[in-house]
């Protein structure tokens, strides 16, 4: 299995984090774009959360052929940083492949990939930010940006709108760094829950490139809303990656992620 496929998993970890959070936050009409973005990340921090999400990831190519994968994602944060472990559950030929990421508060993450055929972990470097993951519509940039939106973008609040029947703040995000893949990003944020509903990514020419769509919202046992389906549609390539949330738990988490990686 190509290790880049493992990197795609890191994105799922970020998404799972969103699912595992889902905390309701009081809205305020006076909020600025940056404040909304901050709420998105700041008041629903991973840093105090832990949990497990089981997801099904399906890639759809331009001929409509689907490739499903099923995986479990574990997340735990502490004062030292965040640990994430992703384990492929299906199909059987990749089952047992695991990706462990330890992201300290400062510094680069440790990323270890365990391949059953190899029988041991392998340290890997963060992929090129612009590269796409094998058979997915996500880039590494998108993985990290979900965790560091406020670091990578400045937000301008546009006129409120709605998406999928829900009132939404609309933000125009402008990259702080010149090397970004995108000229800008437009994000629709559910006003009541501060959850992204839709994210439009525009390429450097200002053309709509990809769309991230959150849907099938359901309340978890704690009463928080979760997007149980996320789609990334590549408008240019006519490909799609669909992620369905199958199950979540806040307690079904291994005591030692590194230990679990090697089992």
């Amino acid at each position: 299995m190509d290790w880049r496929k493992g990197m795609a998993a890191a994105f799922l970890v970020a998404l799972a984090a969103c699912w595992l959070l889902g905390m309701a936050v009081e809205a305020s009409p006076e909020l600025t774009g940056d404040e909304i973005l901050q709420r998105l990340q700041g008041e629903t921090p991973l840093a105090t959360q832990q949990g497990m999400a089981q997801v099904r990831l399906t890639t759809v190519n331009d001929r409509g052929q689907e490739r499903p994968n099923e995986m479990r994602i574990f997340v735990r944060s502490s004062s030292e940083g965040t640990e994430q472990l992703l384990e492929y559950v299906a199909p059987a030929d990749v089952a047992g492949t695991k990706l462990y990421t330890r992201t300290p508060k400062k510094g680069d993450p440790d990323i270890l990939l365990f391949l059953p055929a190899l029988g041991r972990e392998r340290r890997i470097a963060a992929a090129e930010r612009g590269s796409t993951f094998m058979n997915t519509d996500f880039t590494y940039d998108e993985i990290t940006s979900f965790a560091h939106f406020t670091e990578l973008y400045t937000a301008e609040r546009l006129a409120d709108s709605e998406w999928d029947g829900r009132p939404a703040y609309v933000l125009r995000l402008t990259p702080k760094e010149a090397g970004s893949l995108y000229s800008h990003v437009v994000m629709y944020v559910w006003q009541e829950e501060f959850i992204p509903l839709r994210v439009d990514f525009y390429n450097r020419d200002g053309v709509l490139w990809k769309q991230l769509l959150n849907s099938n919202f359901q309340q978890n046992p704690a009463g928080n809303w979760e997007a149980r389906r996320i789609e990334m549609v590549n408008v240019v390539k006519k490909t799609k990656t669909v992620i369905d949330l199958l199950a979540t738990s806040r307690t079904d988490v291994p005591a030692n992620f590194l230990r679990e990686l090697r089992r």
Partner: protein, 444 residues
């Protein structure tokens, strides 16, 4: 390269393995499965067809006509399969049984070389791995036949102590570590992990006698001169690993046996004896500027044998002094999706491609390159090269892979070996075995 594949190793302790299997099945019956702890069944079945690309010949087994082959002649026609059952029992235990086998559908050139008839080289069903895992508060135990892969390098791991290296590169770098029957315990502390491996009976290189005969025919052993079995055949290995400032560090120690017996010329002919060795190992891996960097090395102290005293070092087919083995490597993923990897290998014992060399043989030094080039959504090209710095030997294996379906892959490989008769590949009998290989594998 396929002739370097050791014959299939049969379990040396069938009763122990039967016990392991029994335990595993017993666990499966006794433990109620949670929803996420169902049995995972996976496997693969495939067909490999190889053709010689050049003329070649070998002398017979002492009598009879030499064996000749010509371009286009079938070298290998093999059906291979593997079936694996794995089950987790919550956070407390797990188990795995892996079976594999192959059937040589017709006598190919490679079978001719080892003088087997149709089907004789087949191994219809063989135990690959069978183990149970038990997890306590701080320690994970694994008991049974298992692969123990230590180290940070790709393919050639000096700190993977417990099984002989398999240098069949035609299958890629995965799976080069052979299984061994052992008890492994990993204890997790705040500062790192301590691993202990106990092997009750050491693994021998299955084809050491054939290798001796091929590589050093003047040292050939008669049946009655084969080495006595050591009384204590146990091995032990320790490894401590930790993270330090973004670097994975592994410190290890091994006390066990060499993969093949030491052979030397005595007064009355060749003599062989199993010899213990101790190894100290250090491995590390880190990342820098998008590169993954790794290094791994061992310092080996062979035990001194009284019987070797006074023997001319050139008449001993094994190192008599401590030696170093090391690997340094790096890989990088380019924005285009091309992954490139380069490794430097230093083998103080001598040639990597051979088994037996005189004790004063120069160290083997190699550059190994690997590139994975995506050609499209379903196509890729992989290039693997091993270049000896000791002489002109070069092994080059380009492989084109096509993903027919998510579970079915077809591949077309070339195995190109360059080197004269006196080179490393020549002495290993590989320099006239260029092949074209077609393979289809279905995984489930």
């Amino acid at each position: 390269m396929a002739t370097t594949r050791p014959p299939h190793r049969y379990p040396r302790r069938p009763l122990l393995l039967a016990l392991v299997l029994g335990c595993l099945l017993g666990l499966g019956l006794a433990w109620p499965a949670a929803a996420q702890d169902q049995v995972t069944i996976r496997g693969q079945v495939g067909q490999t067809l190889g053709f010689f690309l050049q003329d070649g010949s070998r002398s017979g087994e002492g009598e009879g006509d030499p064996i000749n082959w010509t371009p286009g002649q079938v070298a290998l026609n093999r059906t291979h399969y593997q079936l694996q059952f794995e089950r987790r029992f919550g956070w407390d235990a797990a188990g795995l049984i892996s079976l594999k086998g192959h059937w040589d559908a017709g006598v190919g050139g490679l079978q001719d070389l080892i003088k087997v008839a149709n089907g004789d080289s087949s191994s219809l069903l063989e135990l690959d791995q069978a183990y149970v895992d038990l997890y306590s508060d701080m320690t994970d135990f694994r008991l049974g036949r298992q692969r123990i892969a230590w180290g940070t390098a790709d393919g050639f791991n000096p700190t993977s102590y417990f099984a002989p290296l398999n240098l069949d590169l035609t299958g890629g770098l995965d799976g080069l570590v052979q299984p061994v029957t052992a008890l492994r315990a990993s204890t997790y502390f705040n500062v790192g992990t301590l691993g202990v491996v106990v092997v009750p009976t050491f693994e021998r290189r299955a084809n050491w006698a054939e290798a001796l005969k091929q590589e050093q025919p003047e040292f050939e052993l008669s049946k009655e001169r084969e080495p006595d079995e050591p009384r204590n055949q146990g091995e032990i290995g320790l490894q401590f690993d930790t993270f330090y400032r973004g670097t994975s560090l592994y410190l290890s120690y091994f006390n066990g046996y060499e993969d093949q017996p030491v052979v030397w010329k005595g007064d009355t002919g060749s003599v062989a004896e199993w010899r213990r060795e101790q190894k100290l190992g250090l491995a590390a891996a880190t990342t820098w500027q998008g590169f993954t960097l790794w290094g791994e090395g061992t310092y080996t102290l062979p035990a001194s044998l009284d019987t070797l005293e006074g023997v001319d070092p050139s008449a001993i087919l094994a190192p008599t002094e401590p030696y170093v083995t090391a690997v340094l490597g790096a890989d990088y993923l380019f924005p285009s999706g091309v992954r490139a990897e380069l490794q430097y290998l230093y083998n103080g014992r001598g040639s990597l491609l051979g088994v037996y060399e005189p004790s004063d043989a120069p160290a083997g030094q190699y550059l190994m390159g690997l590139a994975s080039i995506p050609l499209g959504e379903d196509h890729s090209l992989e290039l693997l090269a091993l270049d000896s710095l000791r002489d002109e030997s070069l092994v080059f294996v380009p492989t084109y892979r096509y993903q027919l379906t998510p579970t079915t892959q077809a591949s077309l490989s070339l195995v190109v070996v360059h080197g004269s008769e006196g080179s490393e590949v020549g002495e290993a009998g590989l320099n006239d075995l260029d092949q074209l290989t077609l393979a289809v594998t279905v995984r489930f």
